[in-house]
């Protein structure tokens, strides 16, 4: 079982490397990091030199954290794109072209093909998060000497969000065409995104109905609430209490949402395996 999964994972990573999808993603990511570093550097110079600028150490720290969070928010968005788009074609495209036939007739279980592809993309996403998230945190550290708190919890939640969308994209590809699958995954992400904002605004204005709608959207697709939770964890208490920045959720997702997201991911993955196993190719 494991040998088959690893062979398919290797193939998946090899393909992503060979097709230069990864190269494009890494180059774009590096371009982003350069822009982020320049922006951070000049902002920092402004903060340090300005006579009218923030006086206290604490005020400065908040600005640095805010900038770092903005960088991580952009990284989160790149991760979402990668998680939804990288695997969107992997099953649907091979089913359509018939290339899948030469895999499925090998002494492999169909589950091994689905799980192997899933694992391959997961490794790519984890590596991409390490590069981009690590890059943002390193730049912030070098320029300002400050690192947000709980970064490992935050990065783990971001990785879980990407994993969830990756799993949806893989599972959808077992039955849908590439285009329909892309529309589905982005549609679900959009639903969670809008739901997340409705929840926040509802909480801010103490409108329970709006908050309720948002929570339901988060239950349907818990991707956005994972980012909210990641952002909540990484910022200091002072910033959380202000709820002024877009990264300070007014309605904090509970830890039960993490359990739900984990179970959700596992369930979607199993559904994807079942769906691929029972279809004609």
């Amino acid at each position: 079982m494991m040998r088959g999964i690893f062979t398919i994972s290797q193939l998946t990573i090899h393909e992503a490397l060979r097709k230069r999808v990864l190269l494009a993603a890494v180059l774009l990511g590096l371009a982003f990091l350069v822009i982020f570093a320049l922006g951070f550097y000049f902002m920092n110079r402004e903060v340090v030199n300005s006579p009218r600028g923030p006086e206290t150490q604490a005020q400065r720290a908040l600005i640095y954290i805010f900038l770092t969070m903005a960088g991580l928010y952009a990284v989160n968005f790149l991760m979402v794109m990668m998680a939804a788009l990288l695997p969107v074609d992997t099953l649907s495209g091979e089913i359509r072209s018939g290339a899948i036939q030469s895999l499925v007739t090998k002494p492999l279980r169909r589950a091994e093909i689905v799980l192997g592809k899933w694992l391959g993309f997961w490794v790519i996403l984890a590596g991409y998060l390490a590069l981009m998230g690590g890059g943002v945190l390193l730049i912030a550290r070098i320029v300002s000497g400050i690192t947000p708190q709980n970064i490992f919890i935050g990065l783990a939640l971001m990785l879980l969000e990407a994993t969830l969308l990756l799993t949806l994209s893989i599972a959808g590809g077992t039955r849908l065409s590439t285009l329909a699958n892309g529309v589905l995954v982005f549609g679900l992400f959009g639903l969670a995104f809008i739901g997340g904002w409705i929840e926040q605004i509802g909480a801010l204005f103490q409108n329970e109905t709006a908050r309720y709608v948002g929570v339901i959207a988060s239950l349907i697709v818990p991707s956005e609430s994972l980012w909210q939770l990641a952002a909540y964890n990484m910022q200091p208490a002072l910033m959380r209490d202000l709820t002024m920045t877009p990264f300070s959720p007014a309605s904090v997702p509970s830890n039960a949402m993490v359990v739900w997201a984990l179970g959700y991911t596992l369930l979607v993955l199993l559904l994807g395996v079942w769906s691929f196993r029972t279809r004609d190719l």
């Binding site: 393909e15 060979r18 030469s102 002494p107 279980r109």
Partner: protein, 305 residues
Amino acid sequence: MNHSAIETNALRKEFGAKVAVADLTLTVQRGEVFGFLGPNGAGKTTSVKMLLGLVARTSGEGRVLDAPLGNVATRAKIGFLPEHFRFQDWLSGREFLDLHARLYGIENEKRKARIEKLLTRVDLQDAANRKLKEYSKGMLQRIGLAAALLNEPQLVFLDEPTSGLDPLGRLIVRDVIQELRAQETAVFLNSHLLSEVEVTCDRVAFVKNGRVIREMGLRETRNEIEIELQVKNPTPNLLRDLAQFGKNVQQLNGTIHLESDTAARIPEINRWLVAQGVDVYKIGAAKPSLEKMFLEVMGEDARAG
């Protein structure tokens, strides 16, 4: 060990309301080259897919190499060249074979040797390091054939293996099939090229509308033989007199055909013709043409698919 490589009984596949395969009942012996013939849309490819477990059967039973259809472990002993072959075209020919050998679970040292041998066999050593996307259709078909043989299978499915090939490529496929027969590997050949089937297959089955309507051996001795002869200036009288040696005497394109019970008639006819003072250019038994049989079985409206 059972002697049949494939045994099916009333296999049926429906896609919604459409019946793709109505009744697939056939037996393929181990070590036999089996031709599967029928017009387009007769259900040939769906039949192969059911046997390989790509498509789930609606009803009926089948065993492949003594295992139920779709058995995972059995696939290690099966090779398959799909009809619409699409491979990982970002790999080179050698990398492609290596990947598929690993998917078969073939060990390292054995894998290398096997790959080089097959690259030579399908005449692709020169192109082995080029990407598959640069290959011609015929080259892809040959590398696909090599991939189908990586695991030294006991049963090989070839779905239209010669459709994209030039004459040299076809010769390679034909030779490979002969070698497989010599190694007692069973071959299940889907083809619409009747002349290919005629030279390579031991037995054929004709399918029409998703049903096997006839199975027959091509190597069996037939009760009736057809005799062909060419003589100088055949006359109506001569044709009438030839009827004493057999029936259905007719002249087509300068060749006289007649049906007879035994090949022993051939020297008899020859002696008689010479005694009549007729100059004989050619005389002998005609091979029964598969095309003729195909049309007989399918009805005149059908064409090979």
